[in-house]
């Protein structure tokens, strides 16, 4: 059974149609990368899956349960889906440890000791053991983004959504964050990743989806998409990326 299924998802902001009927399935342990030009709707798609943005039409199904139906408990759905944002969005008034333990304690009702033990273990796994007591503004961008990933992982999500997680980072900090994502993939985490890092997508993805004009124009294994794209639009997009020195 697929972890996530989108069926004919549509979303507009005012008169701007961003998603015009997106169909997509993500299976257990699969890593799917969304590529496409800025404004092609990658972020919007992820925000719809996390129910941050309500969809206008279509269905989103998480493990057989339709989460876009009326009256769904959105908090319960979000507990199962982790999302990491481009701008980290850490809570600046809380230490790293509090950032990570807030949701397990407030939402899952874990005890302080249990939540902190879990958080420290995760932080240590991603090389952040000594940062537990620091506040976010004392960390580098790469460290902040790794904390944001740990914060999402602390809820033990069934699915992780990564929204351009390296776009706000200085180039020399990108690698450490990508390394973390590789480790997650190796651990079998199911992920839907919006990214501009084509080399990374080629490396890590089981499947690459090219989003264009509000629909998934083309999808397939990375070797095929990057070397022999079937659609002219995909080819043009990749040529522009290569010309810009991003691949």
């Amino acid at each position: 059974m697929s972890v996530l299924a989108l069926e004919g998802v549509r979303k507009s902001f005012g008169r701007l149609e961003v998603l015009r009927g997106v169909d997509l399935e993500v299976s257990e342990h699969e890593v799917v990368c969304l590529i496409g030009a800025s404004g092609s709707g990658k972020s919007t798609l992820l925000r719809c899956v996390n129910l941050i943005e309500p969809v206008d039409a279509g269905r989103i199904v998480v493990r057989g349960e339709e989460v876009t139906r009326r009256g769904i408990d959105v908090d319960r759905v979000r507990r199962r889906i982790g999302i990491v944002f481009q701008a980290f969005n850490l809570f600046p008034h809380m230490s790293v440890l509090r950032n990570v333990t807030l949701a397990p304690r407030a939402v899952l009702g874990r005890g302080r000791a249990e939540a902190e033990a879990g958080a420290r273990e995760l932080l240590a796994r991603f090389g952040l053991a000594d940062k537990a007591g620091e506040y976010p503004d004392r960390l580098s961008g790469g460290q902040q983004q790794r904390v944001a990933i740990v914060r999402a992982l602390a809820m033990e999500p069934e699915l992780m959504l990564l929204d351009e997680v390296t776009s706000a980072l200085d180039p020399e900090l990108v690698a450490e964050v990508l390394e973390v994502i590789r480790e997650l993939a190796a651990g079998g985490m199911t992920m839907l990743i919006a990214t501009h890092e084509m080399g990374f997508a080629r490396d890590i993805a089981d499947r690459v989806c090219f989003l264009d004009g509000g629909v998934i124009l083309e999808q397939g294994p990375p070797e095929r998409i990057f070397t022999a794209p079937a659609e002219a639009r995909t080819r043009q997009f990749l040529e522009r990326i290569v010309a810009a020195g991003r691949m």
Binding site: R78, G82, F91, V107, D137, R138
Partner: protein, 289 residues
């Protein structure tokens, strides 16, 4: 960080830094400032005391005998001002927060509540405080209803709470709106409910940002406790009024004024210091913030 101690030292900073640096320029600057202040104050003092009618002014407002006689009694009465201030402040902080949260509720369902909170703030910011105090302080006891308190101090506090909550709720609201929506999105995406996001993520950041304007409203409240005196409660202003009408000398008013200033000026300086510290922190955090 050595700056911690420097900041607490306030006005001494310049002098201390000069000692640390061992340079002469700061010392010289302080010397010039001191000398120019002394000359300025002396000139103003001479000008005032030599102005025509000064003797009359001095007898009426600066009578040291009257001052010494009335100050102890007024200071005792001033305790009531402080008490009114402290009690009112606690209720204002809580009630105003409730109003601000109500006003930030989303969705059409909560429209009546939002409208009520807006109407409340508009009304109580528009009516002169002294009118609210008179309406409640004279009106409520006059009802002579069973169970309705007749203490003028009680109704004075109620009136101050009603009026100041309107102002303070606006301050809170500005704070809530200054927290970027992405913070709420991050909290909600972790599965926190709206109420939890408000409690753990939005309000702590909002309140921290509005502490200086909150303190400004505290200063206003401390002054306005004197308005309760019109109801007959013997606080500092009322006591000085009694003394003044007994002697037809206005020095007791000045004694009362001095007591208010003794509290509000330190509060004002403390507020300035907080604003300055906040600005320094934000500059230090740079783009990371």
């Amino acid at each position: 960080m050595a700056s911690e101690g420097d900041r607490r030292a306030g006005p001494e900073v310049a002098g201390r830094r000069s000692k640390i640096l061992g340079g002469g320029t700061d010392v010289r600057n302080v010397g010039i400032a001191l000398a120019s202040t002394v000359v300025f104050v002396a000139l103003v003092a001479v000008a005032i005391t030599h102005a025509p009618g000064w003797d009359e002014v001095q007898r009426t407002f600066f009578d040291w005998g009257q001052f010494a006689d009335s100050l102890p009694e007024i200071a005792r009465a001033f305790e009531l001002n402080v008490k009114i201030f402290c009690i009112a402040e606690v209720f204002i902080l809580a009630f105003a927060l409730l109003l601000a949260v109500i006003r930030s509720l989303p969705g059409p369902v909560f429209f009546p509540l939002r409208a009520l909170a807006i109407a409340y703030a508009d009304f109580f910011r528009g009516v002169p405080t002294i009118l609210v105090i008179a309406i409640l302080g004279f009106g409520a006891p006059a009802l002579a209803l069973k169970g309705v308190p007749t203490s003028t101090t009680f109704w004075g506090i109620v009136a101050l709470v009603l009026v100041y909550s309107a102002y303070v709720s606006e301050v809170y609201r500005a704070g809530i709106e200054s927290v970027h929506p992405s913070q709420e999105a991050a909290a909600r995406s972790l599965g926190l409910s709206r109420a939890q996001a408000l409690r753990y993520v939005i309000l702590p950041q909002a309140v921290r940002r509005v502490i200086p304007p909150l303190l400004n409203d505290f200063i206003g409240l401390q002054k306005d406790t004197a308005l309760v005196g019109v109801l007959g409660a013997v606080e500092a202003f009322k006591q000085s009024d009694i003394d003044t009408s007994a002697t037809f000398n206005y020095t007791p008013y000045l004694a009362a004024a001095l007591l208010f200033v003794a509290i509000t000026i330190p509060l004002a300086r403390f507020t300035d210091w907080l604003v300055l510290r906040d600005r320094r922190r934000r500059q230090a955090a740079g783009v990371a913030a």
